[in-house]
């Protein structure tokens, strides 16, 4: 009887597809690395590149009415603010500086100056409410500086909603065709102005 044939298992080279899961994992790591560095509070605005929402609002002090149509033909910085907003107070010096930029129109929209708790069931469009909001708005700007060429009252917040406002302050740049080119949520900082806003202003001109 011949000796039983014994075999040893053959050494197997690792097939190349074994690295596919590793590659996929590294791909996911890359996604995470990029994603984790982003600020989840910053919501990209769907308005960028689209015309500013149509609206018509009364000017503070009753000097008339301003409509979005008037954006055409000029470069406008639209700032949504309120006297109860701490960030608005912080950024106001920057707005004052920007108001001295030649060729830049400054439009302030005083968003919901009288908040729900203050209104306590009253109609925000009532004469009494408007009067109260007007007085506060004017007093605040008197003290902090007249940064706005045009100051508008958005008493019920509908125009703000059309702009996609979710917190104050918010700043938009609207070009000569009335198209929104830039949005910043939160108080403006010198960095944002230097790195994002000023280059745009130069580019648009």
């Amino acid at each position: 009887m011949s000796a039983p044939t014994l075999v040893k298992p053959a050494g197997q080279r690792m097939p190349r597809w074994v690295f596919v899961p590793l590659a996929l994992f590294l791909g996911m790591v890359a996604f995470l690395a990029v994603g984790l560095q982003r600020n989840p509070q910053e919501i990209p605005s769907p308005l960028i590149g689209r015309p500013a929402p149509a609206f018509e609002l009364p000017m503070v002090g009753g000097a008339g009415v301003f409509s979005a149509e008037q954006f055409k033909g000029q470069l406008t910085l639209v700032n949504l603010w309120a006297t109860w907003c701490a960030g608005c107070k912080e950024e106001h010096p920057i707005l004052m500086a920007l108001s001295r930029q030649p060729g830049l129109n400054m439009v302030g929209i005083n968003y919901k100056e009288l908040q729900a708790s203050e209104l306590a069931g009253q109609d925000p469009q009532s004469a009494e409410a408007v009067q109260k909001a007007t007085a506060r708005s004017q007093a605040w700007l008197q003290k902090q500086g007249q940064a706005f060429g045009v100051n508008l009252l958005d008493m019920d917040g509908r125009v703000g909603m059309d702009f996609g406002v979710y917190g104050l302050p918010e700043t938009y740049l609207v070009d000569r065709e009335g198209v929104v080119r830039f949005k910043h949520a939160g108080a403006l900082t010198p960095d944002v102005v230097q790195q994002k806003l000023l280059p745009l202003l130069r580019g648009v001109d």
């Binding site: 990209p44 769907p46 929402p53 729900a116 209104l119 306590a120 909603m161 702009f163 917190g167």
Partner: protein
């Protein structure tokens, strides 16, 4: 067949039906038209998502008097269905139905107005997405940009299964024969 192959075959056999079920659920969740997505309207969902706006104390000034009255049951059903799918952008982990942020209150009033005007769910979603972007929806729309998000996991699962099956089916390579010295040594070991 080695233990490893048997274990792998058992694993694949167990995961195949589970994978199918997950895929079917995923397709169901991705298609907004399916009735399963109306589960939001169940009493359980209501208790989770909080009271409807009609229960919110009327400190809100409303230009539209209609909104102060309680909602009809038809409107309420539609409201429950859609409000839980919408994100509050101020308190971003809360739904529009349950958040107490002032913007949420305003948006609830707006959405209720749209429902009462007869706008469809799709119209309402469009209204909000046009202003706030896709982030306002808890369920991102299934469009080319989000295909990876919706289908990626299932594609990965199927890929993994395919690899596992191929691994199973591959027959082991024929072993090399022993050299003479190795055979001699083996014979000595066996006969000892």
């Amino acid at each position: 067949m080695t233990d490893f192959h048997m274990a792998l075959r058992a694993l694949v056999r167990a995961w195949l039906p589970i994978g199918m079920a997950v895929m079917a659920t995923g397709v169901g969740a991705a298609s907004p038209g399916l009735p399963v997505n109306a589960i939001q309207a169940s009493p359980l969902a209501q208790s989770v998502t909080g009271p409807a706006p009609a229960a919110v104390p009327a400190v809100q000034a409303v230009a539209n008097v209609q909104s102060e009255a309680p909602m009809t049951s038809a409107v309420k059903a539609r409201w429950d269905h859609i409000a839980a799918e919408l994100r509050c952008l101020v308190c971003q982990n809360e739904s529009l139905a349950s958040s107490n942020a002032e913007l949420a209150v305003d948006l609830r009033r707006e959405v209720r107005g749209l429902i009462e005007q007869g706008q469809s769910d799709a119209d309402i979603r469009t209204f909000l997405v046009r202003r706030y972007g896709d982030f306002v929806l808890y369920k991102p729309e299934v469009k080319p940009v989000t295909w990876l998000l919706w289908f990626g996991p299932f594609v990965l699962l199927l890929g993994a299964l395919a690899v596992a099956l191929r691994l199973m089916r591959r027959s082991p390579a024929a072993p090399e024969p022993l050299t003479d010295s190795e055979r001699e040594r083996a014979r000595q070991l066996l006969e000892s």
